[in-house]
Each structure stands twice: as structure tokens, then as C-alpha cells.
């Protein structure tokens, strides 16, 4: 099947929430190709932070895109984001399951080195360096980014998901709960613990 990206070129505004509390959200995409373009980099970095592997992150994002187009292309554009992250979460969980089995079957095989730190050193600073800020602020920002990356890695998988979906992706508590497959109360708990932990870990770097 070849997906026609213009097929879903429809309304950019959509109504979300309960009938009594309807709010209009302006989406930043109107067709599936724009949506994937809009979300792919964040999804890649989320996967990278969760799996500590650039290669696995690429595989996971591609599988997620493939499945979204295959199964949910005809859904409303407002539903794509929660669906995408739901698939992504499921793929990351599968990755951890496969890894656990691999570790049991081949215990002598060493886990590959954490590629994320290299990625950070080589690429984030390059990204930061494209701005016109002075070198001192660039270095401080690069350090903060590195510490933030390390801080996120110290969270549990559920806390990472709650933090990244709520703080980064801006999903509502309800959508985050749907993505994570848990209750809204659980999302709030994970999110507040994640923020608390990050604040404790990053306090020194974020109070300069």
C-alpha cells in the first residue's frame, strides 16, 4: 500500500476534551507526512535516551512510523500523537524484553557501550555552536544538556516516559495516561517524582 499524503489534508483545527469543556487545538500538521516530520526528531531522542543506543533508537522510530501509517492513517490528526507515542512506548518495552532475554541466553555478551554520551559530546555541542551566543554561555548550556541527559537516564522507565510526554511533548495527563496504559493519578505520581529527582540531580547546574 502506498500512502497518499494528501489524502488526509484536512482540517488543521480539532476539538478535544469532553463535550462540556471543548477546547480548540490548532495542530501543527495537517497530513501524515507533516506529522511524522514534526515528531520524528523528538521521538528519536526519546528512544535514544531510553535505550542508550542510536541504532536501536532509529529502528524503534522506523517501526513506530511504519505501524502508525499501516494501522492508523485514517484516524483523525488529533489522535495521531497519542497513538504514535503509544506505539513508541510499546516498541521500547519490547526492546527491553528482548534485551532481557538476550542477556539470559548470552550472559557472556557484553552490553554495547552507552552511545548516548558520545552522541551528546559530538552532536549536541555542534548543534549549540550554530547559535550566535558567546562561547561561555554555550559551554554552560552544553554542560546543562549533558547533565539533563544523565539525569533523565537515572529516572525509571515510567518516570522517563511521564516526564518526556508531559514536559517535552506537552501531552495532557489524560493523553499521557492513555499512552502509558495507566491511570491519570499514576501519571501524576510518576511525573512529580521525576521532577523531584531531576531537581535534586540538576540543582547545581540549573541555579547558575
Amino acid at each position: 500500500m502506498i500512502f497518499d499524503s494528501n489524502k488526509t489534508h484536512q482540517q488543521c483545527e480539532t476539538h478535544v476534551g469532553s463535550p462540556t469543556m471543548s477546547t480548540t487545538v490548532v495542530l501543527e500538521y495537517s497530513n501524515l507526512e507533516e506529522f511524522l516530520k514534526f515528531i520524528e526528531k523528538r521521538a528519536f531522542h526519546m528512544s535514544r535516551l531510553s535505550t542508550n543506543s542510536v541504532e536501536d533508537a532509529h529502528d524503534i522510530v522506523q517501526d513506530t512510523m511504519f505501524k502508525l501509517v499501516e494501522k492508523y492513517a485514517d484516524k483523525s490528526p488529533a489522535d495521531w500523537k497519542p497513538l504514535f507515542y503509544r506505539i513508541l512506548r510499546s516498541k521500547i518495552t519490547d526492546h527491553y524484553r528482548r534485551k532481557a532475554v538476550r542477556d539470559k541466553v548470552f550472559p557472556w555478551k557484553k552490553a554495547p557501550a552507552d552511545e548516548s554520551e558520545d552522541y551528546f559530546e559530538q552532536r549536541i555541542i555542534e548543534g549549540v555552536s550554530t547559535s550566535s551566543d558567546d562561547p561561555d554561555s554555550l559551554v554552560i548550556r552544553a554542560e546543562k544538556l549533558q547533565q539533563l541527559t544523565l539525569g533523565i537516564k537515572q529516572l525509571t522507565l515510567r518516570q522517563q516516559q511521564a516526564f518526556m510526554l508531559r514536559a517535552w511533548e506537552g501531552l495532557s495527563t489524560r493523553d499521557t495516561a492513555a499512552v502509558m496504559g495507566c491511570t491519570e493519578g499514576s501519571v501524576k505520581t510518576h511525573y512529580s517524582r521525576a521532577m523531584e529527582r531531576l531537581r535534586a540531580l540538576l540543582g547545581d547546574y540549573y541555579e547558575r
Binding site: L32, L36, E40, R123, G127, L145, L148, M164
Partner: protein, 114 residues
């Protein structure tokens, strides 16, 4: 710092991380997106490998067949009438020499009659 401020600061930094995505990764993501939209999976289906592995296992089972010999051995020992008698009547143990002699005697008689 309250939660909202923290959240905004972290979000800004994470967005910086996204802007810092290297061009090779951007290229791979664009390629993955196009593959997904065209529904062309870059990886071959694992089904042929699974079928081949199943065939190899079946062949190995047929040729090696580790159960046959032991099963035969088990059946001859466990289904021997003599063993059954011993299990059912422990007093047979008392006359085991006699039965052994009888068995040898019968064999010799049969051999000589042939």
C-alpha cells in the same frame, strides 16, 4: 523554582537537543519516514528464516532421534515378564538362583533340540 519554570527550562534544553540532531540522523529519519509512508519495510520478513530453522530441527530430530534407543531399552526392561513378576512378587528374590538356572536350562534345551 516552581514546577512550571523547571518544566519550561527542561523543555527549552530538550528542544536544543532536537535542534542539535546531526545531519546523518536527520537523513536516516527522513528515509525511515518515506519508507513508512510508502509502506516499504527495509528489513526482510523473518518468516523464511523461521521456516528454515524449523526444517533443520525436524531433520535433526529424524536423523538423530535420541528417543528411539532409550525408549526401546526402557520398553524391553520394563515390559519383561520376569521383571513384572519380580515387582509383583518380592518372594521370587529368594529363589532367584533357581529361576536363573531354569532360564539357562530352557535355553540349552531349545538350542539342543534345534
Amino acid at each position: 523554582m516552581n514546577d512550571k519554570t523547571d518544566q519550561e527550562i527542561y523543555k527549552d534544553d530538550l528542544d536544543t537537543m532536537v535542534r542539535g540532531t546531526q545531519s546523518t540522523d536527520s537523513f536516516r529519519l527522513a528515509s525511515a519516514r518515506q519508507n513508512a509512508l510508502r509502506q516499504t519495510d527495509r528489513r526482510p520478513s523473518p518468516m523464511p528464516w523461521l521456516v528454515a530453522a524449523a526444517c533443520c530441527c525436524l531433520l535433526a530430530f529424524v536423523f538423530i532421534d535420541p528417543t528411539t534407543d532409550s525408549a526401546l531399552e526402557n520398553s524391553t526392561t520394563s515390559e519383561s515378564p520376569f521383571a513384572t513378576v519380580i515387582l509383583e512378587e518380592p518372594e521370587v528374590f529368594d529363589n532367584i538362583d533357581f529361576y536363573y538356572w531354569l532360564d539357562v536350562y530352557d535355553t540349552e534345551v531349545i538350542a539342543s533340540s534345534d
